[in-house]
Amino acid sequence: MVDEGGGRFSAVLCFSTAVYSVEAVKRAAYRFTDRLSFDISLRDQEIRCSVTPLADMTKVDLASLTARVRNEVLDQDLRERIAAETAGVRNVVLAYAFSATGLQDS
């Protein structure tokens, strides 16, 4: 947590690239863009996420919100795992669902 002065705070979150993908961090961050702004960069084996509140926020509120961002990164990681395992079936289902509609001939 960084004190920007005047009661304004920002935060830095770090995630290991050995554990998380940049995509997972970006997807998680996006969900909080109504309240936070993110600057995401890759440094060595670390995804570094600078977090700035869009409006005034107490240190406690910011800490609580960044904890939720961390949890959301975990969720996004889980979603990536599900997507990877199920991509084949998903494509088959979509292909059959949208195939041979008859619209092409009309």
Partner: protein
């Protein structure tokens, strides 16, 4: 020597025990997650069960395993048809897309004798030439209607007050019936009218030609008349009298009403529901204001936010459920639409909750001046000077020009929730819609920024709430009766 090997020899190994089928998840409340599959079936899991499930640690004898297997979230060794069933259900859900445009709205006139501050489009004018649709425009519109391959065609008359140009309503109905004698479509008509100037003769015509009547009823007399001012301040009295006459002449099941929520409505949802009960309706559609036309100009739309409307909605829903518990069968239609998406393999076709969006491929609107828009909301936006969703003109453009216009294809593709940011991994995506016109109107972008989208907030909150209600056995029984 035993004829069979030991039982353990037949047990699947830990690693190959089951395979995940595509699904999404979201946190529902403390410790519970909702998982949904591609066709909208859902299950509630503890966080621990979710983690175990994804990491292939879920025990086959557990209740969660059985639930997930029955709802096609996993496939295991003794269940080879799960994928086939999932495909069949997905195809059933998507089947409406192949039918293409079924709803065709004709704005017979923009004139109206009401002056509702929330109205999106109407004009108080006597100038028939300026604001009425001509027969030539209607003819070209009808040619386009029957270019749609849809086996079901619904023609809806919109306004202004559509009945102020009832001669054109008659013309369109009879021309459409004539064309349909060779087309053989399942043809239906709806007239949207405030009923204030509708005569018994008009209603008799509606009866003879199977025209359904859709009217407006905002609540008790004082609220309705404040929301819907007209000369004589008798909008409510005329609407109620019109509903009575329409039921007597056209048929009870052919008359429906819609309400609009204004700031004055917010504290009065119980009275509004009571009014619908008093008028003998079997349900109500609790609707928020749309961000278009005069609703924006007169600041009606900005008068309350999504949270205030949600509070109104949930109070209304609670009141309606209490009515049902006391023995009155009364439906909240928005909940009914969403429940249909959650609990059946069928798509309801409700335009706002479709993805790909319902614009153009679900509904088209032929404006009084011949312009063709992608939806009713699109023409309302055009009345504000924004013609982003104008697809063409009945006199200048062909069906192919209109249906392949960039004004339609670009927002359809961009807003598809299967790939839109935040929507693509949202557990509620199977229940939700794209609504590019709403997002364009409120955020200047057809895709929309979902973390700040009122549409997203409103619908996500309702989906979660309904899933919570379905977990209460007595409430679930009532809600199942609404589908």
């Amino acid at each position: 020597m035993s004829r069979f090997g030991a039982l353990a020899d037949y047990a699947p190994t830990l690693e190959t025990r089951y395979q995940l089928l595509p699904f999404r998840f979201a946190n529902l409340d403390d410790g519970r997650c909702v998982v949904t599959n591609m066709v909208g079936e859902y299950a509630l899991l503890s966080r621990a069960d979710l983690e175990d499930f994804v990491h292939h640690r879920l025990v086959p004898s557990s209740r969660a395993y059985d639930d997930l297997k029955a709802k096609h979230f996993l496939v295991d060794g003794d269940d080879s048809v799960a994928v086939d069933l999932l495909v069949l259900k997905a195809r059933t859900k998507a089947s409406r897309l192949a039918q293409f445009t079924g709803l065709h709205m004709f704005v017979t006139t923009l004139r109206c004798e009401h002056a509702c501050p929330y109205c999106q489009v109407s004009r108080q004018s006597e100038d028939r030439a300026a604001f009425d649709m001509s027969e030539a425009t209607a003819d070209r519109g009808l040619e386009l209607v029957f270019r749609s391959p849809s086996p079901t065609i619904k023609i809806e008359f919109q306004g202004g007050e559509s009945a102020l140009n009832f001669g054109l309503v008659r013309y369109i109905v009879e021309r459409a019936e004539e064309i349909n004698r060779t087309e053989g479509r399942d043809l239906a008509f709806v007239i949207a009218t405030n009923l204030a100037i509708v005569t018994d003769e008009m209603l008799q015509y509606c009866r003879e030609h199977n025209i359904f009547v859709s009217t407006s009823l905002d609540g008790p007399a004082d609220l309705h008349n404040r929301n819907r001012p007209r000369a004589g301040r008798d909008s409510y009295e005329r609407a109620v009298d019109g509903i009575r006459r329409a039921r007597a002449i056209v048929g009870r099941d052919r008359v429906s009403a819609l309400m609009t929520t204004t700031r004055d409505s917010l504290g009065r949802v119980e009275e509004i529901v009571d009014e619908y009960l008093r008028q003998g309706f079997g349900g109500i559609f609790l609707r928020p204001l749309s961000p278009y036309g005069f609703a924006v100009k007169t600041k009606s739309y900005a008068a309350y936010d999504a949270d205030a409307w949600l509070d109104f909605y949930f109070r209304g829903l609670r009141y309606i459920l209490d009515l049902n518990r006391r023995g009155y069968r009364f439906v909240e239609h928005y909940a009914s639409l969403v429940l249909g998406k959650m609990l059946t393999p069928f798509d309801t076709g409700y335009v706002d909750l479709r993805s790909p969006a319902g614009i153009g491929i679900g509904a088209l609107i032929y404006n009084y001046d011949g312009e063709v828009y992608a939806s009713d909301e699109s023409r309302m936006l055009a009345e504000m000077g924004d013609t982003s969703f104008r697809l063409g003109n009945v006199h200048r453009d062909t069906w192919e020009d209109i249906m392949t216009s960039e004004a339609l294809l670009r927002p359809l593709e961009a807003s598809y929730t299967g790939s839109a940011p935040m929507c693509s991994d949202c557990a509620f995506e199977p229940y939700c819609g794209a609504d590019p016109v709403f997002h364009h109107a409120t955020q200047g972008d057809a895709v929309g920024h979902k973390p700040t989208s009122a549409f997203c907030r409103r619908n996500m909150t309702i989906f979660k709430h309904l899933i919570g209600l379905l977990d209460e056995p007595e409430t679930r029984r009532i809600l199942l009766g609404w589908i």
